[in-house]
Symmetry: C2
Subunit: 184 residues, 2 copies
């Protein structure tokens, strides 16, 4: 048998992730059975699980890609661009995070891995916030961790509302976030 | 047969809601099967569903009680007390809201009912926010709806993090919320 090339593997991996994302968005995490994943991806379970050991790994890889994408956007264009991009996300897909949240709560080991994922990017965003403080864009009377935690609450709140199908107001939210972070 | 008294009905209703809350918190919304609800409540499915027509009605009644409790606290003691109370909530129970959120998204009729529940209390909280603006406690350069929406994002963000089992920082969050709402 010919050796499967790296580019073929990369294509297959992409096909699996894209199909899994559609299946999760349409049917939810629990609802995306192996049969539905096979159908949406167009590959057998054997092929799928030779790339990703479990359904959770599929979701985790997709969520890591999201985090990477949003983290880079944050570094390149700032927090406000992240808010606007999240408000443009497919609510069907954002809703899958609500389901995943509950699974993380009941599995401490999985939650710890989730919190520790992509440490370089987390560090880079922390440094970006510290620079915003040093440059007088953000207030500097609070630890950078408090600023980061607050922005995380805002992002999670918007995501929870989008994933629930509620209307959100990006501009109104950003006006108040700006005031919260303005130097004293 | 003797007529079932109102107080007996009220007690039974309480027993059903308390048991359902424990069952949802322990097993999740999906995981709380009718058999598990029967076991935790200590009544047959026939008895349970003669008080509440469906599992969703059980959850909806519990969520309405929460909303009532938090709304009254908001009116009596202000937003900060609501934040502190939410941070003290049982994460197992808060996690059930994440599951419910996803169900609301896929069911527009149910979502509309959810958004319209308890209209008097919603109006009262809106009026309370307007008074805070008039009294110079909150900034008055923004519509009261923007203030309410922002505080909703913060509460939903904290709830999402608590329901996922993440640590939250009530004090840090409140410091920044205060700055966001301070009169200009």
């Amino acid at each position: 048998m010919p050796k499967v090339s790296d580019s073929h593997r990369a294509e297959r991996r992409r096909q699996i992730l894209d199909g899994a994302r559609r299946a999760f968005a349409r049917d939810g995490y629990q609802g995306a059975t192996v049969a539905r994943l096979e159908e949406e991806i167009g590959l057998s379970r054997g092929a799928i699980f030779s790339y990703f050991p479990s359904k959770w790994d599929l979701f985790y890889s997709l969520a890591s890609e999201d985090q990477d994408r949003f983290g880079r956007l944050w570094l390149a264009e700032g927090f406000e661009s992240v808010v606007r991009r999240i408000c443009d996300e497919d609510p069907e897909w954002v809703g899958v995070y609500l389901e995943a949240g509950r699974m993380l709560r009941t599995d401490p080991a999985r939650r710890e891995l989730w919190l520790q994922r992509n440490p370089e990017l987390r560090t880079a965003v922390g440094e970006h916030l510290a620079v915003c403080q040093a440059d007088g864009v953000y207030r500097s009377d609070l630890p950078v961790e408090s600023i980061g935690a607050f922005l995380g609450v805002v992002l999670d709140g918007l995501a929870a509302q989008i994933g629930t199908g509620f209307p959100v107001d990006a501009d109104g939210t950003l006006t108040l976030v700006r005031a919260a972070l303005a130097p004293k």
